[in-house]
């Protein structure tokens, strides 16, 4: 039992954080929202060179072949950085979807190197393709079947998070025999939970910094107990969501879906709450498009409902508990 990141896993997180600290996630998100993909492409190419686009891709396809702990470590950092784009889809979902298919050879080497980008839809919970216009392959999953299209007909939709470019796909693709749809969906939900943890932590960090800079009544507002308690509550929620995400990575196969749902619920609720409180402690400035806060807070709102709403995930956990699966998460 050693329930913390290994040195290698910690090094990976720190390397990513250093990369993003040197760049400007907010500027990338703004340009991506405005339709200029070039700054994002440069970061994605760097991630590709570091091997991280292929963190979950088997080595025979040019990936690192690492496990879910490394995967969530990466996605947590991308969330913290506010990186837009189909990160969860390309890094987590497509590799899982194609794991045992003949199509793996066609797509995974490009995805692992960062030269290709994938995105995906799932009929019930992910009905629109994120950033389909920037993707080389759009996978559409329905029930147990999946298809792939390279440049499908698509209608643009507008997300509450301007950096999420959503598309309703209107043309069918080629079948992908053997696609692991259920596994891919679960990995999307897990990846989304990890991204939400990073987003929530960033919202807390921004808030903590802001309340020390902002003065009212002759003192930093962060000295007022009412403000302190808001942020302490956010810290507690994030602190107890994180181990659930990590625990879900280590789950027994028979509890995996249940544990991923538990992680998604906790991470979604914590990040959404972090966004609400961040807005409250920033005051009016946080309600503007000029300030960067909304780049993270609207993403938390969008992802709260993506990859299965918390209501749906609670139903899934409830069904498992009712069926006698009461061993704790990660057991």
């Amino acid at each position: 039992m050693r329930f913390t990141r290994t040195t290698e896993q910690q090094d990976m997180a720190e390397a990513l954080r250093a990369l993003f600290d040197a760049g400007d996630g907010a500027a990338i998100a703004r340009s991506w929202a405005a339709g200029d993909a070039a700054p994002w492409r440069r970061v994605w190419a760097q991630l590709g060179e570091m091997g991280l686009c292929g963190v979950a891709v088997p080595e025979r396809f040019g990936g690192l072949g690492l496990g879910p702990v490394e995967l969530v470590t990466c996605l947590e950092e991308l969330g913290r950085a506010g990186l837009p784009g189909p990160c969860v889809e390309s890094i987590a979902v497509v590799p899982a979807l194609l794991a045992d298919t003949a199509a793996a050879e066609r797509w995974l080497p490009g995805i692992a190197s960062g030269n290709a980008v994938g995105t995906a839809t799932f009929t019930e919970h992910v009905p629109r393709a994120l950033d389909a216009d920037a993707a080389d392959a759009v996978f559409q999953c329905d029930g147990e079947r999946a298809t792939v299209a390279e440049r499908p007909d698509a209608v643009a939709q507008h997300s509450i998070d301007p950096a999420r470019r959503l598309w309703t796909i209107e043309s069918a693709g080629e079948p992908v025999p053997g696609a692991q749809v259920a596994e891919a969906f679960d990995l999307g939900a897990l990846g989304c939970a990890a991204q939400l943890l990073g987003i929530g932590q960033r919202l807390l960090d921004m808030s903590t910094r802001y309340v020390q800079e902002r003065h009212q009544f002759g003192r930093p507002v962060g000295r007022f107990q009412a403000v302190k308690h808001h942020l302490a509550n956010v810290a507690v929620r994030l602190e107890f969501a994180r181990p659930l995400v990590h625990g879900a990575c280590l789950a027994e196969p028979r509890h995996r879906s249940r544990d991923i749902s538990a992680a998604k619920i906790a991470a979604s609720d914590a990040a959404y709450f972090a966004g609400r409180i961040a807005l409250q402690v920033h005051g009016a400035i946080g309600y503007t498009a000029e300030h960067d806060l909304h780049l993270w807070s609207t993403k938390a709102t969008a992802l709260h409902a993506a990859w299965g709403t918390t209501t749906w995930h609670r139903r899934r956990v409830a069904a498992a508990l009712a069926a006698g699966e009461t061993a704790p998460v990660g057991a």
Partner: protein, 383 residues
């Protein structure tokens, strides 16, 4: 990162499980907040001790098994899962003992620890005073130097189970001129000493769960001072960290309660989300504890994160019990002794106990200040 347990860990868990199955009383003991219940629970402590399961994490020489923190957590999970009785000795075992191990003299450890482990001495905490609750630095009870020791005077309050306990531990102001938390000293004193008066206080349900302790010139020899004179605050801090963090509220207790809640719920649509959230909360607390234990085993101290634990488990405990009370509907108000009470009235009893969680061991408001100031680095309150 892994959650697999070693063969030794699993063997220990099996041994504990087997023993508990054979020895946990079939009928729940009467509430330990009553005189007869207290006596029954003291007897259970003796049974546990005779089997070597009273203080499994302590060194063997003091009656323990010297097991690792991981094995201790597994022990706790088994203990609560088996429905074993609440630990009447917990104030001593989990709050005083770590301080004795860290700051006590060899003589004090030998004199107090074995009797604590066996249930011969049950200890009460004497922190709070009428004017000092979460703000321990407001303590007014005095310690006056006399030849060979000290004379203690003053009043302590909200001392859990002091009505029936044998000894108490607490802070006294030994230097009246020193400011706030300086000039405090940590004393151990018997509750039957001359000059000590204990007045039970009825809990919210009338049970004498805590008490006031009046001290009128009570003599305490130098040998019953714990740590250095004037260093009581620092000595006490190691204990309050244990209280909020790992030891007092091991996850086993909440896992078992969540399991019972799931069983009471039985899959109905009613209250589904609250049951699910309570179960998730218990899992989260267990995993967070494994994270903390990993850090501790790697040599890091438990810091102000223990305040996050305290806020989390105390609120989880209430949410879990409120969900159970709602599930019970009109039966929720039936307490022990009611023939129709589900589970012998265990839920309302647990509910009342849970209500105190955000109040004791430093109120949750104080914990939130600690989190904001020491974890997030926000500026200190004016004080």
């Amino acid at each position: 990162m892994d959650l697999t347990f070693s063969a030794e860990d699993l063997a220990f868990r099996d041994e504990v499980r087997t023993w508990l199955r054979a020895n946990v009383p079939a009928e729940p003991l009467p509430s330990l907040e009553t005189e007869t219940g207290f006596a029954a629970h003291r007897q259970w402590e003796k049974t546990l001790h005779a089997a070597g399961f009273s203080v499994v994490s302590w060194p063997v020489e003091f009656g323990g098994r010297d097991v690792s923190l991981v094995q201790w957590l597994l022990f706790e999970e088994e203990y609560y899962a088996a429905g074993a009785p609440g630990r009447v000795g917990q104030n001593g075992i989990f709050l005083l003992a770590p301080t004795l191990f860290e700051h006590g003299t060899a003589e004090q450890r030998e004199r107090f620890l074995p009797r604590m482990a066996s249930g011969e001495d049950v200890w009460a905490q004497a922190w709070s005073e009428p004017e000092a609750g979460s703000d321990l630095a407001g303590i007014r009870s005095r310690a006056r130097r006399v030849p060979g020791g000290w004379r203690l005077s003053g009043q302590k309050t909200w001392s859990s189970r002091a009505a029936f306990a044998d000894w108490a531990f607490g802070l006294f102001r030994s230097d009246p001129d020193a400011e706030r938390h300086r000039g405090l000293t940590y004393f151990l004193f018997p509750l039957d000493a001359a000059g000590v008066t204990v007045r039970p206080i009825g809990r919210i349900d009338g049970k004498p769960a805590f008490a006031e302790i009046f001290l009128n010139d009570v003599f305490v020899p130098d040998s019953d001072v714990l740590g250095e004179v004037g260093e009581g605050w620092r000595v006490a801090m190691s204990t309050t960290g244990s209280e909020r963090g790992l030891s007092l509220r091991s996850p086993g207790r909440f896992l078992a309660a969540a399991q019972r809640l799931v069983e009471s719920w039985n899959g109905a649509a009613q209250l589904q989300d609250r049951v699910v959230d309570a179960w998730i909360g218990a899992s989260a607390y267990r995993l967070a504890t494994f994270e903390t234990v990993t850090k501790v085993l790697a040599g890091s101290p438990v810091g102000p994160e223990s305040s996050m634990n305290k806020v989390f488990w105390s609120e989880l405990d209430i949410a879990l019990h409120e969900a159970a009370m709602d599930l019970l509907g009109p039966d929720a108000e039936l307490t022990a002794g009611s023939p129709a009470a589900p589970d012998g009235g265990a839920w309302p009893d647990g509910y009342l106990f849970a209500l105190a969680g955000p109040i004791y061991a430093g109120t949750n408001e104080i914990q939130r200040n600690v989190i904001a100031e020491r974890v997030l680095g926000l500026p200190r309150e004016p004080r």
